[in-house]
Subunit: 326 residues, 2 copies
């Protein structure tokens, strides 16, 4: 574990424990199957980034109540629902080093338990009694599904542009993190200025996180990643390192890379060669630089807040986006 | 078309046309794929029962505004989302005489467009600005997913009791119709007494509708049904005609029936024999009588309202639940 991750985890230990309790308490599964499938996806070493951000953002805006952990579960449930439906879509076999839920319980159970988690998060959102929070959740769910559909349409398309890639990752990943941060502010009844700043923070770290995640497919080994290396590409996901390398490659190289992309059954050696090409064409460094820009924007967004321990922590979380190894 | 259906459709022609316009207008698909998949499931001769009931219930409670059609779309979108996810679950090949969406566009697209429709209905619910309506939608979606999961768990279980069957159909079908009727009352800002009465009406016709639907699998031919006869059973759905016949059959007959149930590849002749056994053991007549009881309850629920054309229409809709042929 990196020093930064260690430092963050140490500071939020108590919050994380309370979030964990709420996640179990709020699930209300009335069937064993729900507890099993939801448990498989949710209690398998997730970072709880989204609920944690909601809780920290509420604190930053001066919230001293006791509902934050409860409401923060909305974002982990939405995340888990999205993962369950995602894995059907992706045809992946591993997530976080474990078999995906649909490979154990079937597509059917994965779809339905995903629906249940979506419905639970909606129910918890109504418990806030805040129209602003509910509107945030509605927007988030709509954009997420659009992002997933956009990604599906562009599956395996070697001509995907950087602009479209940005649109996809913003919707499929960043708006949920943005929603968690905004909701934290709304729980604290913060000013519009503060809520907008935290939305901005969340959106930008969300983008940076997804870019870092996309980098891992080309820089990690299977043990650290908890899924097969090259699995993004095998699922037809065109990500920034590859998009950039395709743009900067010469015609011969581009044709060679496209051949590997087109072949879903590429070998480990093919993938290694592709990764070398991406590196040679600065796909890795370009993506890291881009991600760093978004981390910078996230940090700048926090400038409307006075310095505090919580603010330092949120700045650290932004840095962690780039620092992560898995 | 039956006389009753004809009479109802004639009276609500204008409302239906306006609902149709709203359904197309509210969809806001930002990708062709959404328009195609959602269009396939939604613009293929659905009865629009749910939005129509919301509109009629609002009218019955004195609503004279112009938002009812718009808000009524929530219930058709939720219904369509549920059908899209259902067809993945069921492995059915036909719905309303057409191939199911997932057989054309794949499970992936069906899951994601279902998610989109769910998200759209939530967005439209927030536009009402009514916490009561939003809470209703949250409850409905949660119960629906529980009903679907319950049905999945009990798939092919020949020991499913009538009580559990009732629990399943209430959740998977009736609560949505109940929600549509309650929302109609809420749009009209009706009294609690009126809203509760219309909830009660909706719940009871919902149950009757599902029973009538379950009967069709044993009494219809493929042309009228728009899907394969016996397809409920082939998908492992144990419905009331069969549950009752299993209960009243003698040991030998029961073993024979269970053998057909256990064999997903039963022949047309097997199914014909099973249907004859169900008839002989009064499974059909028992289900019809039960459904009639719920229709009666639905009508009784309307007694809190003064007589009017709209009330007569809602009474007719209740009768139509039993009268339907497909």
């Amino acid at each position: 574990m990196s020093d930064l991750k260690h430092k963050i985890l140490d500071t939020v230990k108590k919050d994380l424990a309370e979030i964990e309790t709420s996640l179990r308490g709020n699930l209300s599964p009335n069937f064993d199957l729900i507890a099993q499938v939801a448990g498989h996806i949710m209690f398998s070493g997730g970072k709880r980034l989204r609920p944690l951000l909601a809780v920290l953002c509420a604190k930053l805006c001066g919230y001293r109540g006791t509902y934050d952990k409860n409401f923060s579960t909305i974002f982990e449930y939405l995340h888990a629902a999205s993962l369950l439906h995602d894995d059907i879509v992706d045809g992946a076999s591993l997530r976080r080093g474990r078999p995906v839920a649909n490979s154990i319980w079937g597509n059917t159970a994965a779809v339905l338990v995903g629906d249940f988690l979506l419905a639970r998060s909606l129910s918890i959102a109504t418990e806030t009694g805040s129209m602003k929070i509910i509107r945030t959740i509605a927007e988030v769910t709509e954009k997420m599904s659009q992002g997933e559909i956009h990604q599906l349409i562009k599956k395996g398309d070697p001509n995907l542009s950087e602009e479209e890639y940005m649109e996809i990752i913003e919707r499929k990943t960043a708006v949920l993190i943005q929603g968690a941060c905004r909701t934290g502010a709304l729980i604290a009844e913060a000013s519009n200025r503060e809520a907008d700043a935290l939305s901005d923070y969340g959106l930008n770290i969300g983008i940076a996180f997804q870019m870092a995640d996309d980098l891992l497919d080309y820089t990690s080994d299977v043990a650290a990643l908890g899924k097969d290396v090259g699995s993004d590409l095998r699922e037809g996901k065109m990500t920034l390192p590859l998009i950039y390398a395709l743009k900067t490659a010469d015609a011969g190289e581009r044709a060679y890379m496209k051949k590997i992309i087109a072949d879903q059954n590429f070998s480990v050696q093919d993938f290694k060669t592709l990764t070398e090409r991406i590196e040679a064409r600065d796909g890795i460094s370009y993506t890291k630089e881009k991600a760093a820009i978004y981390v910078g924007r996230a940090k700048t967004a926090l400038s409307v807040f006075q310095d505090s321990d919580i603010k330092s922590l949120l700045l650290n979380v932004a840095d962690y986006a780039l620092d992560r190894k898995a």
